[in-house]
């Protein structure tokens, strides 16, 4: 891995990640502070199961269900996925389209090592957001009156980190193989959205239940880390997907002509 490249990629991406982290913590604190006022009322709402599934299938009336719906199902993966995908696409295909990579690749560094270095920088961004999620949960749950263990909150952050790594790795694989930023962003975001819908709706149709196994959301939160803790199988699958996609990225960029 090229440490110099990892450092510069991180320097370029970290400001946005830190801003997002602060925003995430603030939102989770607000969500937590809101629960005592609305939790009991909203918990009595008769929400259709399809809608409930889209929001993580949680019981709004409980502190765990509240945070699963508000943070774990949408806001957390949205923020971490957006930063991982846009960052991954920008640092690889974006730099290629902007012609910066034409200079960098004239230096004595293997393309594969540059890509892995950039992936490592995105990994740090993902871990930063996951850590912020954990901190935000701790603050938010405390403001909500407590009810989730710190270990279970950490479990959600860990599962979220692996989810972010997998989506970022998908963006890097497409970006490195094609040199096209918009394609990489589109494919990774599309897989994320379709995965979210599949994970929400597939369980409602008996014959299609198996589809949920194709969704990264299933491995991220299918076992409800806020109540069950870390799901080793989910982490292993997301980790393995990340590794395979990064190998594909390293191979993909090595085989083709540089664009731009």
């Amino acid at each position: 891995m090229s440490w110099a490249t990892a450092k510069i990629a991180l320097r370029l991406r970290l400001p946005a990640a830190l801003s997002a982290a602060v925003g995430l913590i603030a939102v989770m604190a607000a969500v937590g502070a809101l629960f005592p006022a609305v939790g009991h009322t909203i918990g009595k709402l008769n929400v259709p199961r399809s809608v409930s599934n889209l929001l993580g299938g949680g019981d709004y009336g409980t502190i765990t269900g509240w945070f699963r719906s508000e943070i774990a199902s949408i806001y957390g993966p949205l923020v971490i996925g957006a930063l991982a995908i846009t960052g991954a696409a920008a640092t690889t295909a974006g730099e290629e389209e902007d012609r910066i990579l034409a200079l960098v690749l004239s230096y004595p560094a293997r393309r594969s090592r540059l890509v892995i270095a950039k992936a490592a920088a995105i990994g740090v961004v993902v871990v930063t957001i996951a850590a912020a999620t954990w901190v935000g949960l701790i603050i938010g749950v405390a403001l909500a009156g407590g009810g989730i263990t710190i270990a279970h909150m950490a479990a959600l952050a860990i599962q979220l980190a692996f989810f972010g790594c997998a989506t970022g790795a998908l963006a890097i694989a497409v970006a490195a193989s094609t040199g096209r930023r918009s394609l990489a962003t589109g494919v990774a975001a599309g897989v994320g959205i379709v995965g979210w819908l599949i994970n929400s709706f597939a369980p409602l149709v008996g014959a299609l239940t198996w589809l949920k196994y194709l969704s990264p959301f299933y491995y991220y939160a299918g076992h409800d880390p806020l109540t069950q803790g870390v799901n080793a199988a989910g982490v292993i699958v997301l980790g393995a997907v990340t590794v395979v996609l990064l190998i594909a990225a390293a191979a993909g960029i090595g085989r083709r002509d540089l664009r731009g």
Binding site: A4, I8, L12, R99, A102, L103, V104, S106, Y107, P108
Partner: protein, 313 residues
Amino acid sequence: MAKSTRDSSVGTPPVSATPVIETSGLSKHYGSGRGLFGLDLEVRAGEVFGFLGPNGAGKSTTLRLLLDLIRPTAGAARVLGLDTVRDSLEIRRRVGFLPGDLALYPTLTGRVVLDYLADLRGGVDRRVRDSLVERFDAELDRPVRELSTGNRQKLGLVQAFMHEPEVLILDEPIAGLDPLVQKSFHTLLAEVSAQGRTVLLSSHTLSEVERVTNRLAILRRGRLVVVDSVENLRRVAVQRLEIEFAAPVAADKFGALPEVTEARADDRTVTVSFQGSADKVVKEAAKHEVLAIRPREDELEEIFLRYYQEQPL
């Protein structure tokens, strides 16, 4: 008129017969007749070699092939005796490259960018880098996005030279540079050449390269048109003189001369395009009262035209 010999500051470099850059049937096909087709070229050790051609001629494609940024469709190339595909890492270690349309990280300062590139390369002597920064008066403390094209190009030159490479591959190196910095650059090229290092530089303007190159190649539509010394190319190039007379003079007097390819009269001024010696043109002009003779810069395209006529593609 542009000088027809190398800049005196360049001196006589120790050019060796050993080829440092060799291409053999090097081709890159982009479809629709675009690309590079069967390029056979040799650049010798210690040589400053100019690579000329209009936009789309294949210059940048060739340079990118030499650095393995793109891969050939056919043929092969060697730099420092190494295969450009198989041994590209070692080639890139020993070569300094300035891409055309240089792009750098816009939000970072020049200092951070150079620090990064020095780390990425490894083994860069900070004193060499600092002396280049001083020489080009490069701006290091402002974000790249705030720099003019010329100031960005200075950073590009610093990074290309900072590890004292054996070979320099420079794509349009003086684009955007002011005349003073151009002079510094030409002096640096002279020093590099005198040290026996090799330079391949591309341009679409003859005047940019004629002062510093030993030989040059002209490309047109992906094919090599000619490789020769600047002096020899000048010999066959079309030159132009703008002659202002005290009274109107008919252009056909000049048009009848065998060397003249075109003569146009506009009131008291006659513009004469000719090849080879200016002797007969000047003697014909001297038959009248001449107020001024102004040379017109040769256009590279006119040299191309000459070769188009001789070597239709």
